[in-house]
Structures are given as C-alpha cells and as structure tokens.
Symmetry: C2
Amino acid sequence: MSSLDRFSLNQATTKYWPIPDLVAGCVDAGVTRIGLWREETAAYGLDKTADLVRDAGLTVTSLCRGGFFNQPGWYDENRRAIDEAATLGAPTLVLVSGGLPEGSRDLDGARAHIGEAIGQLVPHALAAGVRLAIEPLHPMFCSDRCVVASLGQALDLAAPHPSAAVGVVVDTYHLWWDDQVWAQIERAGREDRIACFQVADWITPLPEGVLLGRGLPGTGSVELRRFREAVDATGFTGPIEVEVFHADVWARPGRDVLDETIQGYVEHVL
Amino acid sequence: MSSLDRFSLNQATTKYWPIPDLVAGCVDAGVTRIGLWREETAAYGLDKTADLVRDAGLTVTSLCRGGFFNQPGWYDENRRAIDEAATLGAPTLVLVSGGLPEGSRDLDGARAHIGEAIGQLVPHALAAGVRLAIEPLHPMFCSDRCVVASLGQALDLAAPHPSAAVGVVVDTYHLWWDDQVWAQIERAGREDRIACFQVADWITPLPEGVLLGRGLPGTGSVELRRFREAVDATGFTGPIEVEVFHADVWARPGRDVLDETIQGYVEHVL
C-alpha cells in the first residue's frame, strides 16, 4: 500500500492550476484522487473535465459545492450540482449551507430551513447515486457563509434522512477547536455519516474576510494525525482530501504546492 | 427603574476616551456603571482611577483582564490583577485564558493547565473578595488568544471550584453561533456561575487579525434580546456590559459612541 493510496488533492488547494495541468501533475506525482469544484469544472467544461479525469485514471472523491439554501433558486441549483457530481463520477456533493438570509437574525429558523431543504433534495440525490455531505464550517463563518457550525449540529441535521443520501464532512480546519469533536466523530461513524474527510491546518493571523487563511498540513495548530486516527477508528477507509485556501499558496506553481502538500500529508496526517 | 439601571459601559468600547472624560461623560449621560481595563487604569494610575470613579458615584462592574496562563509569570501577574480589581472595587476579574503555548498543538493539555492555574488563584481571589470569571472566546481565537471556546467548556473548567470564587462570562459576541448556548446559559444559572454578562454584535467582514471586528448593539446578526432574556431567566439581575472592539468605533468621540451604545442597548437588548 502506497502512502498516497487514500490521498486526494482538493482542487481548491491549487485553485489557479489549469485543469489539464492539474490532472497531468497528479498523475506524474502518483496521486490518483482529486476533489473538484463546480466553478472550475464549468469553466473548463463539465463533460470535458469528466473525460479528461477518467482517461487519466483519476478518481473524483467529491464535488464542491452545493448548498447556500438562503439564496433564491437553491432547489434548482442544487439539483444541477447533484447532476454535475454524477457526471464527474463524484460520489459526494459537499453542501455549505449558506449564512443568515439578508437582514435576518433568525439563526434557529435558518438552521431549520437547511434541514427541510436537504430533505427535498434526497430523492434526486438517491436517484443520481450522489451522497449529500453537510459541511459544518468554522463558527466565524456562521453569519455569512454557513449557519451549520459544529459536527454535532451537522449530524442532527442529517439524522432524519437515510445515510445513503445524507452524510457529513469532517474538516479539521473547521472543527479542531471543538472539545466535543472526538465524541461527535465517533457518533458520525456509528451513524454511518462520514461522507468526506478533509484536512487543512489552522494558522494565524487570519486575513481580512477570513476565507483565505488556511495552512498546508503541518504548518499550524491542528492535531491532524489525531483527527485521521479518530476518523479511521470509526471504520472509515475513504479518501483523505487536503483542501487549503490561501492566497499565498494559490500564488505558487501548482506542482510545488502539490509536492509540499504531499510532504505535509505524509509527515503530519498519515 | 431607569432603562440604564443595569447598563454598564465597558471601557474597551471607547478605548481612547481619557479616563476623566469617560467618567464625566458617563455621569452626564446617566450611566452609573463601568467596566475597566488594566492597561488603561495603570496608565492613568490605579489609585487615581479608583478615587475618581468612586467620587463620581460610579460602580465598577468588572476588570479586564487576567488569564494568559500560557505566559511565563502568569501566577504573579494574575495575583496582581486580582489586587487591582479589589482596589477598584470591581467584584469580577475577567480571565482570558491565552492560546496554545508557542509551537504546541496540545489543546487538551492547554485546557487542563487553565483549570489547574485557576485553582491556584482561588485562595487569593476569595481573600480579596474578587470573583474570577472564565471567558469563553469565539473559536476563531482558539490558537492565539483563548483555548476556552464555548460556554459549556468554561462551565466544565469552573465546576471544581467554589462558585463564590469562580464564575464565567456570557458574552454574546463569542457565543451567538452555538446551538448549545441556551442550554448552557440555563446550566450556568443553575450552577450559580454567571459572573459577567457582556454584549456586542457580530458584523462582517471580519478585519485582518479578527480582533477589532465587533459591532455596536443592533448593527449585526445576534439575537441580543434573546440572550438578555435567557440570562435573566436564570435569575441573574447583575449588570449588562456593552463591550465593543472596533477601530472605526474607537476613532469616534467617546460621547457619540456612548450615546449610540445606549440607544442600541435600549432598542436591542432591553
């Protein structure tokens, strides 16, 4: 078993690496799995991306992202996202719920709406063979990006739905601060909800807007190996995606970032 | 009963308002309570501040802050902070725990150390008649400022100690995203731990470093009145401090900020 067997490069880590170069770079580095994003695949062409990836022998581990249930047209938009995941052969569509509706302070209401919205998408997800993965984001994104702010809450939202259709994302960057996370990872395994495992490190200072502040594995404060071991202890054997958003990382050549990502993964995650 | 009976202006909201002007401005506005900060009182003079505040008929509701137990000399520094609170007549010393020790990823270890450190301070706090208030900060501060990231965790840390010596801070800015917060506020009341109630609103985008991004009451996403009602429902009748850190707010004349703070308080908190 190679050290890269479960490794998946999430495209967001090398955001500006053109898709043909990304695919060739992965093959060259011995990486067989990638996570893709809708904007980038649409820009290159959905079918073209699917063909390119398949012909290169790569497996798509997830598609980011559906969700944003606070926006008009969410239902049709999420059905399209499910279809795109199916076309790409991605087993999982990551859902970022969206924040509070414009001008609203009704957090409970927004959260209840997420649960109902996901329920409406379940039949289409099942028919398409795509699993919806509710991603809790760090609480600093609660108002403007994702009202789902902890793993326990994501599991509560998933609970009414069949686990074949609805799971959760365990992302180290978003969850590392939570003293309940170890119990909730165990619960996620017990309830068969771990649909996606993503890794990034926590570094400071956070940049303005806080979106592009993640660190490559090993550069920050997170006990990444402890997370991997906790997820594995539930019986999870799926891919381990590294997904880092950072302006400085994006400014560097894709292949350099991939090499450094692999090194950090081997040293700090495996 | 005046609408300002429980209102307290935390000095951090008008950080650059010189202490004599702050005191005169509060008296002029009918504000009888203030929360103070160590740096500002030290710069003006501790005894001088205590005399000025007392002579003006103001009550000091809290002193910020002790804590930072990850730094060398924390024990002596916190004893000094307790003494300063006693001199100022502040019943409560707010504790911000500090982040991870330099280079460490051991979050559990850091949290355990907080509990032990507070235990060592309890006798001095009891002797001085000053209550230590553990403040959970927003999880975005977990690595570099405060490893205590939820109200539940603060209550767990307080639990081994007498409630006369150790309580918690309920601060809307830090806790608003947490779906467990309502149950934990109820618990905090039941366990007699609410030592300080602070109010600020959540606004975005967050600035670089995220420290100076708070909003005056009513300008953001937080259900402030719901928090006040939840805290009151436990039987808490203490002061309600408004504590806002924002560069734009600090750049304005203190009296203007105080007037706007009172207006936001009356409209959105009471």
